[in-house]
């Protein structure tokens, strides 16, 4: 019998806000334990949650990017939750009126194009972190992450393979990063994915027993988990190796196995009820239109525009539109220098090399586009050499600066002092008569040796063409 896999995803994405969802504590990752806490996120009696407006902005933005309908009145609810990483014994989330519903995301795999339906996007608070201490046999609680804002993107069970899941997640990540909703860094937990999976005989319209898998923090782990779980389900159905039950399972990537965690709760078990402390949020036309008008171009639209408007090749346009930071820098640079091809080259070769050296991703590029454009202008008008421009770019990675001012302060401007160049050439020739003789005898490499010595003496501040011409003239005279 042939089987097909049915997969639905719940993707949690941490929103790029400065503060938490219901209090003003910092939402930054990586602080000392319990440094970002207050009575509200510690669940102390009498605290009153107040919604962060930017969370609603980003929730709406995500909804619009994923072609959802935005609920103009959106409300928050309490979901029962009995673990100490959420101190209220409930999680504040959205159940009855989530911010966005009924969306659609297009993906492309080796089997072609497919549309994945989005059931809903809801805003909620994250839980804190528990550390289990073997020495004292206790659990230690860090509330820094408690109440950090999340959206949960719930898909319909429209996915049917690990390849489709990866394509879907990559598409989500690209769209959400483009709209600056989140940095979507799986390794830091700002994008997490729970996989709901079942299998059924091919062509059947009945869904099989569904399991939910948690604890996956990379695309490769998700692929391995789906492949393992699919095989486990098929084995159980075909060979009766075990009884499949609806449950939550934990994926152990080191062991390459999933393990039962707990019986899967149903919605009733969570006992959702409206949060009386948080007033309904009504999104009026001004607010809605403001978000709608601030949406970025979709990456594929931008790519087509870069190719038609700036004459970039598909490869270059593809790399640039892979990251919003690259696009912003590129567009800023082109606006300043008017040379799209050069701007693309600087970004794709020099900037990407520096990012790789710093073990950073393209999204972490902080170089100001206007400053890059000024740097390109300085090179193309012959004010500085390309070698020195690279030195300036390294400094621009540290902090934003005016390239012309930096070049002047650090003696990186090309010298027009032909007297000085002439003096340096004459000294080099006098010091190495053998090289002069070798060049005259037809050894081209000898010229390069002299050229190098002169350039070193001039500290790189000389137009290579000018130096070469003057050097050959002088050798011929000698």
């Amino acid at each position: 019998m042939k089987f097909e896999t049915v997969i639905g995803l719940e993707v949690h994405v941490e929103l790029a806000t400065k503060s938490k969802i219901f209090c003003s504590c910092s939402a930054k990752f990586g602080a000392e334990q319990n440094d970002h806490v207050c009575p509200a996120c510690c669940g102390m009696p009498g605290m009153l949650p107040i919604v962060n407006k930017n969370v609603v902005n980003l929730g709406m933005t995500a909804g619009m990017m994923l072609n959802c309908h935005i609920n103009r009145t959106t409300t928050f609810d309490k979901k029962s939750y009995y673990y100490p990483d959420l101190p209220c014994s409930y999680q504040t989330t959205q159940w009855f009126a989530p911010v966005a519903v009924n969306g659609l995301v297009d993906i492309e795999t080796s089997k072609g194009k497919k549309s994945i339906r989005i059931k809903q996007i809801h805003m909620e608070e994250d839980a804190g972190k528990l550390v289990h201490d073997d020495w004292t046999n206790t659990s230690l609680v860090d509330f820094n992450r408690t109440s950090v804002p999340l959206i949960e993107i719930v898909s319909q069970p429209d996915l049917s393979s690990a390849e489709e899941v990866v394509a879907y997640l990559e598409r989500l990540r690209s769209l959400l990063r483009f709209a600056k909703v989140s940095d979507c860094r799986m390794e830091q937990g700002s994008m997490r994915c729970d996989v709901n999976l079942s299998v059924r005989p091919e062509g059947s319209d009945q869904l099989g027993v569904r399991t939910e898998m948690k604890n996956m923090n990379s695309l490769s782990a998700i692929v391995r988990a789906i492949e393992y779980e699919t095989a486990r389900h098929i084995d159980a159905i075909e060979n009766g190796t075990e009884e499949l039950v609806q449950e939550t399972r934990r994926w152990d990537d080191v062991k390459g196995k999933s393990f039962a965690m707990r019986n899967k709760e149903t919605a009733g078990d969570y006992r959702y009820f409206p949060d009386p402390n948080i007033m309904p949020v009504v999104i009026d036309d001004t607010w809605y239109d403001g978000i709608k008008n601030s949406l970025p171009e979709f990456p594929e639209v931008k790519k087509a525009r870069y190719m038609s408007e700036f004459g970039l090749g598909e490869y270059d346009a593809d790399i640039l539109t892979g990251s919003r930071a690259l696009c912003d820098c590129f567009e800023g640079a082109v606006a300043e220098c008017g040379n799209a091809k050069e701007a693309a080259n600087w970004l794709i070769s020099d900037c990407m090399n520096l990012l790789n050296k710093n073990q950073q991703t393209a999204d972490q590029l902080t170089v100001n586009g206007t400053s890059l454009g000024k740097l390109i202008k300085l090179v193309t008008d012959g004010t500085i050499g390309r070698g020195n421009a690279k030195k300036i770019l390294i400094a621009m990675f540290e902090k934003d600066l005016d390239p012309a001012k930096y070049a002047e302060e650090n003696g990186l401007i090309l010298s027009n002092d032909t007297g000085l160049i002439d003096k340096v050439i004459k000294e080099a020739i006098a010091a190495d008569p053998k090289a002069v003789a070798d060049f005259k005898g037809g050894k081209e490499k000898a010229l390069m040796a002299l050229f190098g010595k002169c350039m070193k003496q001039l500290k790189g501040n000389c137009d290579p063409q000018v130096l070469r011409t003057m050097l050959i003239d002088e050798i011929n005279k000698a």
Binding site: S19, S24, V55, S139, R271, V281
Partner: protein
Amino acid sequence: MDQTTLQSLEKLNQLRLTDAEKEAVLAFFARQDKEMAVLDAIDTERVERMVHVMPILTVVREDVEKKLFTRDELQKGAPETMDGYWQVPRLVE
């Protein structure tokens, strides 16, 4: 409310009840059921659900980060702390 539902609620709320407590809870819910039956008899078809007493909508704040409390202030009332963490009975699923 029957024994099975009570058992399920006990598990969900992470409680362990004695037989005497279970009996008391079942008796309590039996009384509640009667009172709910009275309420159920009322026609509420056209009555809008009331969650919020005050007619206030859209209470939001700007996304501004503020540090209003220190960890030490917040942990003053904690029964147990360790290295800046709140310390609780061990919890492993």
